[in-house]
């Protein structure tokens, strides 16, 4: 009874149940032959959605209308510029990382400057800035594919204790995000702003500072994900971030974070990211065509949301 109530009180558990179910069905179809490969691939690809999803989660928690649409452009620009700066030299890795962080911080500042100065809804502000960022990425890239430094390329595809390195990185970032959210003053403030911004300001919360940091955090995480992804896939591509626009929002919501703001959940991001990747690979295994795969992905996303639709109150 208490166990059951525990499950029902934690909507994000559903995402793990769903992810595990999908994993099991896929494994069963292949007779267990792909267990290790599938699990590693799931962890690897989920890691990228987790990193961008965490940033998007903090932004969404800021309240209705808060969503960062510039994530794909940020990923592309960070990957492109960092690889260009490093120019395949192992010695320039630190510089590349700094440039990545710089790109994230810069875009975060630009995003919040637009939101604040133009008083426009974040969805439009980040959309506008994403256009500009994308143009900068196109102009920087010029269709030349630069390889990542060998050490980085090696690192991004290697595993430690059977778990892909990128998944370890995602774990470290997730723990950091969890502490920030659940134990930190910052998380409490973000949640308060998401519930009632005016009341938050009148309760003494530095609303602008917190929102600014949140958008910056989101952009920095997107930049890191872009950097990792371009190392992992052997070079930056102009469309490499595009699928993460929808994915970042989907993992946040399937993961149990309130879309109306005020309530966030870190573990759910993991469940949702794994689930989304596993659904696609399950359908691939069953030989579904691209159209069928898309339709089913959509239906499953909606079904999960309906199944998990319970109001979280704390």
């Amino acid at each position: 009874m208490t166990a059951l109530r525990f499950v029902f009180a934690k909507p994000w558990l559903w995402s793990f149940v769903a992810a595990f179910g999908t994993w099991l069905v896929t494994i069963l179809f292949t007779g267990g032959a792909s267990t290790l490969g599938l699990s590693q691939a799931a962890l690897t690809f989920a890691a990228f959605s987790i990193i961008v999803g965490l940033g998007q989660m903090f932004v969404v928690t800021l309240g209705p209308g808060n969503v960062d649409l510039s994530i794909p452009a940020t990923m592309t620009l960070a990957g492109t510029v960092a690889l260009k700066v490093m120019d395949t030299q192992d010695g320039a890795i630190l510089l590349g990382l700094l440039v990545t962080l710089g790109v994230g911080i810069g875009i975060g500042i630009a995003n919040y400057a637009l939101i604040k100065l133009l008083r426009i809804p974040p969805i439009i502000a980040t959309l506008s800035s994403s256009f500009i960022v994308q143009s900068i990425a196109i102009a920087t890239n010029r269709g030349i594919r630069i390889k990542p430094p060998a050490v980085l390329a090696e690192f991004s595809i290697a595993s430690f204790l059977g778990v892909p390195n990128v998944a370890w990185l995602a774990l470290v970032i997730s723990v950091f995000a969890w502490v920030l959210l659940e134990k930190g003053l910052f998380g409490r403030w973000v949640s308060a702003i998401g519930q009632n911004m005016r009341a938050a300001r009148l309760a003494g919360i530095p609303v602008d500072g917190v929102r600014f940091l949140t958008y910056m955090l989101c952009a920095v995480l997107a930049a890191i994900a872009g950097f990792l992804l371009s190392c992992f896939s052997g070079g930056a591509a102009l469309n490499m971030g595009s699928e993460y626009l929808l994915t970042s929002i989907a993992v946040v919501v399937i993961g149990g974070t309130a879309v109306a703001g005020g309530f966030a959940n870190v573990p759910g991001i993991w469940g949702a990211s794994l689930f989304l990747f596993l659904v696609v690979s399950m359908l691939n295994t069953y030989g579904a065509s691209a159209g069928v795969r898309m339709v089913l992905t959509g239906v499953i996303i909606i079904a999960v949301i309906i199944a998990a639709s319970r109001k979280a109150v704390r």
Binding site: L180, K183, R188, Q195, N196, G204, I205, A312, V313
Partner: protein
């Protein structure tokens, strides 16, 4: 009285209602006859709101029956209530802010449709506004969002009294004058008299007992989910009403000699307007902001608050704290527990390296829960599980628990029962004794009279400064209305 010979508009027999473990109504009989104005009084949590929800069909009683015009009602609902001619004006304002007055009238009436609906709706609401609040100056083609809170309440009341052909037999007014100044309130009370004389029925809920006594023909007193008194209004006095509600009438304790307004002011604002006066608050003072509702008091408080705090950088120690009066808009965090709502402002003091000390947080919250007697079993219950008065106590605790030297209060006693008010008054006096400074905007005269010094507002500017024995109802009213009389 002929009332007993006609069928009652609505009668409720033996109604009970529980929400989980809380028994909101414990067997209530309630009847309204045509031509009556029934005053309904009781503490917060006495069951008034639940009874009103049952009357208007929003809630179904667990037990008991409802009869309309003497006929038992089956599956009573909001739609049926409206069809019977029953209307409600709720305590929180409930108009669509994006629509004009005319369009809101249309939303309220199903019958207003087809060709020329806009013209008919406009005439309907304009005439009713003129009827109830002569000289109101409200443009019915403007969106509600552009009106002051008092104007919105006027529109809301007038909308409830409009009749688009479906008949109108009973109007329930839940704290209708909470945002209206004295002049508008008396216009409304006069209209209630005309309405009942013409055979209409009213249920009037108000915490201003003078209003209840003067407007009602019969008064029903509720306590702990039961009706404890039901007599003609002439049988009551303010003291006997308060006695029936069960709260203790405490004699007002003065603060003794008013503190000397000397030294360096903790807060100040230059004078505004031609006849305006400068605003200054000295340490340890209890300063009142008075005047008619909506004349710039809240703006001043928010301006003071914004001036002393920073929206970009956090401060470890809060210099000022704010107690909201409009809980839903300015105070509550609806997803959070009572505990989290209470500790929010003091949180930076409990934070090391960005991490909140949870143990100390719950210790402090438990302390304050006892000090202000928040009626809950568990501080981890959601804030919205509390009654309005208890939510307000949590907001007081949020401000007082912080180390802010100045506390700004924005008419925080709106819709709070007398018992809670007395507790809060005592708390404020004790805190002021310890050297804390309070700036208190209130729409209620006896609250303003508790202050050391009072600034009277009119049209956004301070027009009078009263101190000590000079703070009287007469002097405040005189300052509030000076220009209107000229």
């Amino acid at each position: 009285m002929t009332a007993t010979t006609t069928n009652p508009v609505i009668s409720v027999n033996g109604a009970t209602k529980s929400f989980g473990a809380v028994r909101a109504l414990a067997g209530v009989d309630f009847t309204v006859h045509p031509g009556e104005c029934v005053g309904l009084v009781g503490h917060n949590g006495a069951g008034k709101s639940t009874l009103v929800s049952i009357l208007n069909g929003g809630l179904t009683p667990d037990e008991g029956t409802i009869a309309l015009n003497g006929q038992p009602a089956v599956r009573y609902s909001i739609a049926q209530a409206r069809a019977t001619g029953l209307r409600c004006v709720f305590q929180e304002l409930s108009l669509c802010p994006n629509l004009t007055v005319t369009e809101n009238t249309r939303v309220a009436h199903r019958g207003l449709r087809g060709f020329g609906w806009r013209r008919r709706a406009r005439a309907l609401i304009r005439n009713k506004l003129d009827d109830i609040f002569p000289g109101h100056g409200i443009d019915v083609n403007q969106a509600i969002a552009s009106f002051t809170i008092a104007e919105r309440q006027m529109v809301e009341i007038a909308t409830a009294f409009t009749d688009a052909g479906t008949g109108l037999s009973l109007v329930i007014l839940d704290e209708p004058t909470s945002s209206l100044d004295a002049g508008l309130a008396s216009q409304l009370l006069a209209y209630i008299g005309r309405f009942t004389a013409a055979g209409g029925a009213i249920v009037l809920i108000s915490h201003i007992l003078g209003e209840i006594l003067s407007a009602s023909t019969r008064i029903v007193v509720m306590k702990d989910g039961k009706v404890v008194a039901d007599r003609p209004a002439t049988g009551f006095t303010i003291d006997s009403l308060v006695g029936a509600m069960g709260s203790v009438v405490r004699t007002r304790e003065g603060r003794g000699a008013a503190s000397a307004a000397t030294g360096t002011p903790v807060l100040s604002r230059p004078a505004r307007g031609q006849a305006g006066r400068a605003f200054r608050v000295f340490p340890g003072e209890l300063v009142g902001l008075a005047g008619l509702g909506g004349h710039g008091q809240t703006d001043m408080l928010v301006d003071l608050y914004m001036g002393e705090t920073n929206a970009w950088l956090p401060r470890r120690a809060a210099a000022v704290a704010f107690v909201a009066g409009d809980r839903a808009e300015d105070g509550n965090f609806p997803l959070w527990s009572i505990l989290r709502n209470m500790t929010l402002t003091l949180l930076p003091q409990l934070t090391r390296l960005g991490l909140v000390d949870g143990t100390r947080e719950s210790q402090i919250a438990t302390d304050w829960r006892q000090r202000i007697e928040v009626r809950t079993k568990d501080m981890s219950n959601p804030i919205l599980s509390l009654s309005g008065g208890n939510q307000q106590k949590v907001l007081f605790a949020r401000a007082l628990a912080s180390n802010a030297a100045v506390v700004l209060m924005d008419d925080p006693m709106r819709g709070v029962d007398i018992g809670t008010k007395q507790e809060v008054y005592a708390m404020l006096r004790a805190e002021a004794q310890k050297g804390r400074t309070f700036v208190w905007y209130s729409t209620e005269m006896d609250e303003v009279c508790q202050c050391d010094r009072v600034y009277v507002f009119r049209e956004g500017a301070i027009v009078a400064e009263l101190a000590g024995a000079g703070i009287t109802e007469d002097s405040i009213l005189a300052a509030s209305f000076a220009e209107a009389a000229a």
